[in-house]
């Protein structure tokens, strides 16, 4: 019975061992879906300076999107800066949740709990309604820097809550973890609702602090204040820029982790937890780390939320939001940082796109009506996407090594050389045992029969290569 590991595809384990599992062949037959991957390969092959040349303007462009006022892109019924600010926060959340779900493979349905804890930490520390308020005149945190001072506290507390939630529950697996985390998310919301003396309960906490920067005569409360509503450079844009800063920082950090022992451990755990542990991966510790890191990023997003909206109330942290966050991750392509950011953008932007729009490309539409059906369309889109593109919009395999780029580049180069030559000889599928093993130029070291060098495997790969170059 030890052997009864359920496979996703019934066919995968019935097949004789000498063949690759059937289910996998099926996916291999699908040559499409590599847009993201091809993009990554292209990107990896670029020299460093070129990467900077492309990357920096792209980030700059993203930052300028809300003030460029691009005709169709800009939302009508809602402020585009505000929408982008929300996008920034959800993108952060997607990055954090992606660590937990996409990379470590831990299904977390209660991620909104961390978002809530981050928001409430800032609110409890800086809202005048809170009994523990530390902000404002004569208080410990003062007025100007209260939000910034509360931010590290929020990160610390959410990390801690990740630890508290994770240490007992991460022994559970799969679906049990899902329901326990869902329960956790609900418990956090209900605590916020029930502990009214601390959290204001259903009345919420008002007047949360925000960074008071750029104070001018017109803007007595600075550019981040909700009062900065006029013009293109409104508070939403400022909050979006602030979110972007945090996004870039988290991408750097998460990227560093991904290309290290930690990221490899996460993926190994996701792929096969038992095998990972037997290969010397301290699985529990790294799962806990994934939770803590995911939680702290959620905490940052929560703190941003509290600062921007200046008001927190439990209803904003319900299960539906957890589910939406998860959808952002899956939609964009879990495991892939840029994919999940795209997912977040879609989740936030599309409903707002229709809101208040009366015509699109000259065709009159009732945008509000469409927007009110958004969950219906959203549900349908999810179902269709899962059927036809379950890997998400831009799936990319993560890069798990800090170095070794040259290997991948070399492999890519050789593919270009091999592809045209092997093109005609498309019979053999990769993966059949009959195919000779590739041994590199090393010759004698590998005592393997057969296996001509370098160009030999052309037969094995030709099919795919051909399809790829098409």
């Amino acid at each position: 019975m030890s052997t009864s590991t359920p496979a996703p595809q019934p066919s995968s384990s019935g097949a004789p061992t000498s063949m690759p599992p059937a289910g996998r062949v099926a996916t291999k037959d699908r040559p499409h879906g590599g847009v993201g991957d091809r993009l990554r390969l292209w990107w990896d092959a670029l020299p460093r300076p070129t990467q900077w040349l492309v990357g920096v303007p792209f980030v700059l462009f993203m930052a300028l999107v809300p003030i460029l006022n691009i005709p169709v892109l800009t939302t009508v019924g809602t402020n585009f800066g505000g929408v982008m600010a929300q996008f920034g926060m959800i993108a952060l959340i997607a990055i954090g949740l992606n660590v937990v779900v996409g990379q470590a493979g831990l299904l977390d349905l209660g991620y909104v709990g961390f978002y809530a804890i981050g928001a409430y930490t800032v609110a409890i520390l800086t809202s005048p309604d809170s009994p523990w308020n530390q902000a404002g005149e004569g208080h410990w945190l003062g007025r100007e820097w209260a939000w910034l001072a509360a931010l590290p506290v929020a990160i610390a507390i959410t990390s801690l809550s990740g630890l508290i939630l994770g240490s007992p529950t991460l022994r559970l697996r799969g679906d049990y973890l899902a329901i326990v985390t869902l329960g956790f998310g609900e418990i956090v919301r209900l605590l916020a609702d029930n502990l009214d003396e601390l959290t204001g309960g259903g009345q919420g906490l008002r007047g949360v602090a925000y960074p008071r920067l750029g104070v001018t005569e017109d803007l007595p409360n600075g550019v981040f204040s909700a009062g900065n509503a006029a013009g293109t450079l409104n508070s939403g844009v400022w909050w979006y820029w602030l979110s972007l800063v945090f996004i870039v920082i988290s991408l750097l950090f998460v990227g560093n982790l991904e290309r290290s022992r930690v990221g490899r451990a996460w993926v190994a755990i996701r792929e096969d937890e038992d095998a990972a542990e037997i290969m010397g991966v301290p699985t529990f510790r790294f799962k806990l780390w994934a939770f803590v890191i995911g939680a702290s990023i959620g905490g940052v997003a929560g703190a941003l939320y509290a600062g921007q909206v200046q008001f927190v109330i439990p209803t904003n942290f319900n299960v539906i939001n957890s589910v939406l966050f998860l959808c952002a991750v899956v939609l964009g392509g879990q495991g892939n940082k840029l994919g999940v950011i795209l997912g977040a953008f879609i989740i936030v932007y599309v409903p707002n796109f229709f809101l208040g729009r009366t015509e699109l490309f000259g065709i009159p539409i009732n945008g509000n009506e469409i927007a009110s059906y958004r969950y219906l369309f959203f549900g349908l889109a999810l179902v269709v996407l899962m059927i036809f593109r379950p890997q998400g919009l831009i799936p990319v395999r993560q890069k798990l090594l800090t170095y070794g780029r040259e290997l991948y580049v070399a492999a890519r180069r050789s593919a270009h050389v091999v592809a045209p030559r092997g093109g005609s000889d498309g019979g053999a599928r990769p993966g059949t045992p009959a195919v000779a093993t590739a041994s590199g130029g090393a010759g004698g070291a590998a005592p393997v029969a057969g296996g001509p060098t370098a160009d030999g495997p052309g037969t094995a790969r030709s099919t795919t290569n051909e399809e790829e170059t098409r």
């Binding site: 019975m1 030890s2 052997t3 009864s4 590991t5 359920p6 996703p8 595809q9 384990s13 019935g14 004789p16 690759p20 996916t27 291999k28 040559p31 991957d37 831990l106 299904l107 697996r173 799969g174 679906d175 290309r259 290290s260 930690v262 451990a265 993926v267 996701r270 096969d272 038992d274 095998a275 037997i278 290969m279 010397g280 890191i293 392509g333 879990q334 495991g335 379950p390 090594l401 800090t402 170095y403 040259e406 290997l407 070399a410 593919a415 091999v418 993966g431 045992p433 590739a438 041994s439 590199g440 130029g441 090393a442 590998a446 005592p447 393997v448 160009d455 495997p457 094995a460 790829e468």
Partner: protein
């Protein structure tokens, strides 16, 4: 959909081992989280000679692969001792008072008919099961209640009867996961890219490439594990296990599904591994392969050791002959190696073992 998957960690479908049943099931659903559609048809071959010219020298490869750690046991001395190990599942005695030892520097064969307890013995060594009685002593200290990853870090590495690679990782990454067992960088180090982290990463890649060359899949380093041919997957598993720099390498039916030529190549590889300084435990059904490569053989039947000696002694032992009576090697190997015969057998034993789930 709990498909019966022949040979899990507990492998072989030999015993109902309940505690893994539950975890194994949930576990695979975790593995499923990865989207299979996200196929990366990554370009194929790395010309190793070009990228890593130093690896063209086989001696250098051998030197890089050779284990670099202190083993207390001297060559020829016992490295691992099974001391009166009994493993019970409910009422079923899978291992009954088993005692044998593995000596440093040898290739030990562990054989026995289907259901004899080979894989259980294997699992008891690698910490998957805790012995009900007796103990496993490794390199002078009992394995005791160590966590599984600790045992690996102490120096026992294994491969799996049914291949369990990290399918979505490249061959190179798979091997680096193995070498991570010897690394100490954790989250803070990786987050801020400390010098130690950088050093470890560089070393890991160098060593992993050497290992891949060593087992003969260097050219496929950047290929996803799932896209490798079956034979390459087997070799990759060995490379991954070697990457943990084990004192003892345990191979669980590494030749299953191989044709004679491939088996021959595998035998060479196993000898080469031993010659490079590793101690090897080999579970195998193919008597010819075992006889050809091992220095010593332990035979299990019904959870007991029935013979222990050189290949010649063992193959002439009447008890062993009785155990394999009338069953030619080839057939036996086929029955064990292929899954067809295995699959229906497992549920029966499972049912018999009761359903204590904890």
């Amino acid at each position: 959909m709990s498909t019966h998957d022949p040979g899990g960690i507990g492998a072989g479908g030999e015993h109902g081992d309940e505690h893994l049943a539950a975890s194994g099931r949930a576990d695979s659903s975790r593995a499923d989280l990865y989207m299979p559609g996200a196929v990366l048809e990554e370009p194929a071959i790395v010309d190793v000679a070009e990228v890593r010219p130093e690896l063209a020298n086989p001696d250098l490869v051998d030197a890089m692969v050779a284990p670099d750690r202190t083993v207390r046991a001297k060559v020829g001395e016992p490295l691992l001792q099974m001391e009166n190990v009994t493993v019970q599942f409910g009422g079923l005695v899978a291992l009954d008072d088993v005692t044998f030892e593995i000596r440093r520097g040898e290739i030990l064969g562990l054989i026995g008919p289907n259901g004899a307890g080979k894989t259980t013995a294997f699992n008891a060594m690698t910490g998957v099961y805790r012995p009900t009685k007796g103990q496993v002593v490794f390199d002078g200290t009992p394995v005791g209640k160590l966590k599984r990853y600790r045992i690996t870090q102490r120096g026992i590495a294994r491969t799996f009867q049914n291949i369990r690679l990290f399918n979505e990782m490249t061959a190179l990454e798979n091997v680096v996961v193995g070498s991570d067992a010897r690394h100490r960088t954790s989250v803070p180090g990786a987050l801020f890219r400390t010098p130690r982290h950088r050093r470890e990463e560089r070393d890991a890649i160098d060593r992993a490439m050497a290992l891949l060359e060593f087992v003969g899949v260097g050219g496929r380093a950047t290929e996803k594990a799932r896209n490798l041919s079956y034979g390459d997957q087997r070799r990759l598993e060995i490379a991954r296990a070697l990457a943990t720099e084990p004192k003892l390498l345990c191979l669980d039916e590494p030749a299953a599904g191989f044709n004679p030529a491939e088996k021959e190549a595998l035998m060479d590889l196993i000898r080469h591994i031993r010659d490079d300084g590793y101690t090897v435990l080999l579970i195998e059904h193919d008597m010819r392969l075992v006889r050809g490569v091992t220095d010593r053989i332990v035979v299990l039947e019904f959870g007991r050791v029935i013979a222990d000696g050189t290949p010649d002694e063992v193959t002439n032992d009447p008890k062993v002959i009785a155990a394999y009576l009338g069953v030619p090697d080839e057939e036996l190997a086929a029955a064990e190696g292929g899954t067809g015969a295995d699959a229906p057998a497992a549920p029966t034993t499972e049912g018999g073992s009761g359903d204590a789930s904890a």
